[in-house]
Symmetry: C2
Subunit: 93 residues, 2 copies
């Protein structure tokens, strides 16, 4: 499975402000493996240039309004695609 990284960065930042290292740890928890810095920082950079996130002087990232809207529609699509996620979690027990 690829492609969920950007989405999950936005999602994580919607829950709480984080720096790059924290985001990395968050992914390590979720996936089991730690994403490479070559994965996380270019992704953050692109989200920043798109105006979906901002950084403060402490290198802490947070969602912008646009980012929140973007996340909301990505979230809707996610839930539509995986509408039966609950049954999936039953299946793999």
């Amino acid at each position: 499975m690829k492609g969920y990284l950007t989405y999950l960065i936005l999602w994580n930042l919607s829950q709480t402000r984080m720096n790059g290292a924290q985001i990395t740890r968050e992914f390590e928890k979720r996936r089991g493996t730690k994403p490479s810095p070559g994965t996380i920082y270019p992704a953050l950079k692109e989200l920043k240039t798109k105006g979906l996130i901002t950084v403060d002087d402490k290198k802490t990232y947070s969602l912008t309004i646009d980012g929140e809207n973007e996340l909301k529609s990505a979230c809707k699509l996610f839930c539509k695609i995986f509408y039966d996620a609950k049954e999936m979690s039953e299946f793999c027990k």
Copy 2:
């Protein structure tokens, strides 16, 4: 979001046996857009060569035992990565 296609093919086939056209329609329901034949059939072919699915003479695809096991671990990973999917569905309401 990319990368979920193979996973969802396996998932769909675990629910019921299907031919290519039915799988295509299933994706159209989930994503809103219909995947191209150049997407769906190469994916099926690869899953077949990996021994995860089989085809009968009516071109109906179904999971093999290996496919079911593969799906199960993919499913586990999915649920781990998106453990808070429920909160996501709340968020985008």
